[in-house]
């Protein structure tokens, strides 16, 4: 197993480097602004560009880029937040994205698991059908539709919440920030709850039909005991990595939600960098690296979870 994990990690790293190389080359092919355009800051821009080797051949630039990037120097913002350090800005925004996702997971995981277990136990009864219908709706309807609904009803009509974070000086994990974030967290949670409910229900119904469940009941366990001690333990094996994967991948899923609720997190930074005129390439490189890494790590976690589900799956064999 260890060998497989290492192989999988090495592959992910390789993919990451290849993707970053493609991004790097494509971005370098675009013209960058002449430093004169920055007026009094031209000197600084020139210096930072010099440091990143802008005037050297592209191969040399590439190695300088990695050398500097690993040290945390991703250059300087040229159009979005002119003159601010890209890495520092990123680190400043990251806590808000992390906070939203942690809150969302804290809400989603218990509710999703509970609903999934309940639906599995009541399989094909009206409770299960009700939950399954709800799951279908929330899995299908795009998150921004109910985000807009939540914003309109909770923030504008009932005015229970502010429609965005009012005070950024409090920090990302302050109670007041949490209250302001709540509509966004709710919007993000619906989809996760629905997904988790569906997955839990599917796994648990499968486990419940196993012979060992019958044995457990035969030797005198109550239904609750049998479910918790035998069925849940077995079902959790695939569910737990799935939760982990979900947690990692919704980091990139909060992009739209951050935009709607105006939360200054990484997602909003990315949209800002892309929509800036001209696009902020340094931000773009860093955030592309960030999202690529998230996707790859989530992929590795989910992939490893497949190994747990069914060790019989052996891909890549001939015939």
């Amino acid at each position: 197993m260890l060998k497989y994990i290492l192989k999988r990690l090495a592959l992910a790293l390789f993919v990451f480097v290849v993707i970053m190389t493609i991004c790097f080359v494509l971005i370098k092919m675009l013209p960058s602004l002449p430093p004169e355009q920055f007026g009094k800051d031209a000197q600084v821009i020139q210096l930072r560009r010099e440091q990143l080797g802008y005037n050297k051949p592209i191969m040399e630039q590439y190695f300088i880029f990695w050398g500097q990037a690993l040290k945390g120097n991703w250059g300087i913002s040229e159009s979005l937040y002119p003159m601010s350090d890209v890495w520092d800005t990123f680190v400043e925004k990251l806590p808000y994205t992390v906070a939203i996702n942690i809150y969302s997971m804290l809400i989603s995981v218990p509710i999703g698991l509970a609903l999934g277990i309940f639906a599995a136990l009541k399989k094909n009864k009206w409770q299960d059908q009700l939950i399954s219908t709800g799951v279908m709706v929330f899995v299908s309807v795009p998150s921004f539709v109910y985000a807009l609904l939540i914003q309109y009803v909770l923030c504008f009509k009932l005015q229970w919440f502010n429609h965005t974070i009012m005070d950024y000086t409090q920090g990302a994990f302050a109670p007041s920030t949490f209250v302001d974030m709540l509509p966004a967290v709710l919007s993000l949670s619906f989809g996760t709850i629905a997904g988790l409910t569906r997955y839990t229900r599917a796994e648990l119904t499968e486990v419940l039909t196993n012979d060992f469940m019958l044995l457990a009941r035969t030797k005198g366990l109550t239904k609750a005991q049998a479910t918790v001690r035998h069925a849940m333990r077995n079902a959790m094996v695939p569910i737990f990595p799935m939760i982990l994967g979900e947690f990692i991948s919704i980091m990139s899923g909060s992009l739209i939600i951050e935009g709607i609720f105006g939360i200054a997190g990484v997602g909003k930074l990315y949209i800002g960098a892309v929509n800036a005129i001209p696009p902020d390439y340094n931000f773009f490189m860093l955030l592309s690296a960030f999202y690529t890494l998230i996707g790859l790590v989530a992929g590795v976690v989910i992939d490893l979870s497949y190994g747990f589900i069914d060790p019989r799956i052996r891909m890549g064999s001939r015939k």
Binding site: L11, V141, S252, R318
Partner: protein, 526 residues
């Protein structure tokens, strides 16, 4: 031992042969039913699934909506911005949904409930007095309010958003002016209303009624805040401009009630043939004159004055078209790629899977941005978007087909075909591929909502710009309407409803198809 040679030369007469069981009744099982093809079988299973059938009907209705709406809802008004260069439409934004036949019901009639202060209430009543079109359709009572912003009595009323707009200032050339004058006479409808005297008198003896407010809808004598200077009996005193002496000025058309022939209806700028006429027109009747019908928008208008109904239909048509195109391209690439991978396995599979890993690892958002940066100039925004979808979109299909090939390639009938000397190409396309057709069809159907969702999200985030006066997409409508969510939720309501319904139906439909084609997978995903 029988001598073989004798047999070889033996000549048996044909007539000596007879059928072994001729005339006998062979008791083999006779099928009472007709054979069922796998497609028909899937169809039968599909129709049993009520939810999916309903979903399929909804998809059909939404598709018909996208296709048929332009036929009856496109008008001179929608043409004015999608084809022409006229920008009058910008004046007709923020109208609420209205349908003929619902007038006065308070639902779908272009009215909304509002709390307005005394000054606004007075202005609306005055507007009704001038044009005869009620702005306030229903009075629902009053509320007392006492906070930082407002103090006093507020009127709770229903306001007709189509009348609320009131007057517009329009600049016309002489020929346009003449045409409008002629139209007024022919149809007996007042479009142009007299100019209002807004110049402050310098001479203290000058007692003429003057309107000092800049508000186009205020036509009576008032101070700078719009508080009226009442005449006898607390009536409003008209402050219309009289006796226009500009050499180019003329007016030979319908006049408002109470006009003694001296009211001035236009302000002339320039001279001779190049003179322009600035007129104060009633926006409702001007619409009637300009576009040949009364304003009535079933889904309302957006902040820019676009008719939401036709824009939504156009956006939906664009989304459908894009999704079908992309899924067909991806289907072709994915099926071929997956078939080769799955069939040959081993090193071929390994290599091709690594390519998939790399492509699949790039976040879609990053791909789109890179394509927009590099290609949007050359092939347009939509072209670049299609490239982005195609670059990574086929991966899902490829892996599905690959799985199917792993499943089928070691089965007996493939072995039989190979034994009989069938080539790889023939085994792939004639024997294995038809068996994985169900998966492919399901995959294609499930790709369509994915593409629509991605396109909508990207347009919504502003990463791709699909909104212009002649083109729209659901995502760009949502993103344009989001800032007005608080006061004009109807701008966003219909696109959001549409996309929600579409996504839900497509997912239900896709799940139904999957269950129908692969009954053994049923319920594996809830």
């Amino acid at each position: 031992m029988i001598d073989n040679k004798n047999f070889e030369n033996m000549n048996i007469d044909k007539s000596l042969f007879a059928f072994a069981h001729e005339g006998e009744n062979l008791h083999d099982t006779k099928f009472d039913t007709k054979p069922v093809s796998s497609l028909r079988d899937a169809m039968r299973r599909f129709t049993k699934n009520k939810g999916s059938v309903v979903a399929a009907c909804i998809i059909l209705i939404l598709l018909l909506f996208a296709l048929i709406t332009p036929l009856f809802a496109e008008s001179a008004y929608t043409d004015s911005y999608s084809v022409g260069t006229d920008v009058t439409y910008l004046q007709y934004g923020y109208y609420l949904p209205k349908t003929k036949g619902f007038e006065g019901t308070g639902f779908w009639d272009g009215t909304k409930k509002e709390e307005i202060n005394q000054a606004t209430y007075r202005k609306y009543m005055a507007m009704e007095q001038e044009t005869g079109r009620p702005v306030i359709t229903k009075e629902l009572g009053t509320v007392e309010i006492d906070d930082i912003i407002n103090k006093g009595t507020l009127h709770v009323v229903r306001i007709d958003t189509y009348a609320q707009k009131g007057m517009l200032n329009v600049t016309l050339t002489q020929s346009q002016y003449d045409a409008l004058l002629k139209w007024q006479l022919e149809n007996d409808i007042q479009v142009i209303y007299p100019q209002v005297d807004r110049t402050k008198p310098t001479d203290p003896n000058d007692k003429r009624p003057v309107c000092l407010s800049k508000d186009l809808n205020i036509w009576y004598a008032c101070d700078i805040k719009g508080v009226p200077v009442y005449g006898p009996g607390k009536t409003l005193v008209p402050a219309y401009l009289k006796n226009n002496t500009h050499p180019e000025y003329y007016y030979n058309s319908k006049r408002i009630a109470g006009d003694d022939g001296t009211y001035s209806y236009a302000q002339v700028t320039g001279s001779g043939a190049k003179s322009n006429f600035v007129v104060r027109v009633d926006s409702y009747n001007y619409f009637l004159y300009k576009y040949g019908e009364e304003p009535c928008f079933a889904f309302g208008t957006s902040s820019e004055g676009y008719d939401i109904l036709t824009r939504l239909a156009n956006g939906a048509r664009f989304s459908f078209l894009l999704a079908v195109l992309v899924s067909l391209i991806n289907l072709t690439i994915g099926a071929i790629y997956g078939a080769i991978e799955g069939y040959y396995g081993g090193v071929v599979d390994m290599t091709m899977e690594r390519i998939v890993d790399i492509l699949g690892g790039i976040p879609f958002m990053v791909v789109t941005v890179l394509f927009q940066l590099h290609l949007a100039q050359k092939v347009g925004v939509v072209g670049a978007l299609i490239y982005a979808f195609v670059l990574t979109g086929w991966i899902g299909m490829a892996s599905r087909v690959r799985m199917q090939f792993y499943r089928f390639k070691s089965q007996e009938y493939v072995l039989a075909a190979r034994t009989l000397g069938a080539s790889d190409k023939r085994i792939i396309w004639r024997h294995i591929f038809p068996n994985s057709l169900g998966t492919i069809i399901t995959g294609t159907v499930l790709v369509i909502p994915g593409v629509i969702f991605s396109e909508t999200s990207l347009a919504y985030l502003g990463i791709i710009n699909l909104g212009s006066s002649s083109m729209s997409s659901i995502g760009s409508m949502l993103s344009a309407g989001q800032q007005y969510l608080k006061d004009f939720p109807h701008i966003i309501l219909f696109p959001a409803l549409f996309i929600a319904l579409l996504m839900l139906s497509f997912n239900l439909f896709g799940n139904g198809l999957r269950d129908a084609f692969n009954p053994q997978l049923r319920g594996s995903e809830g």
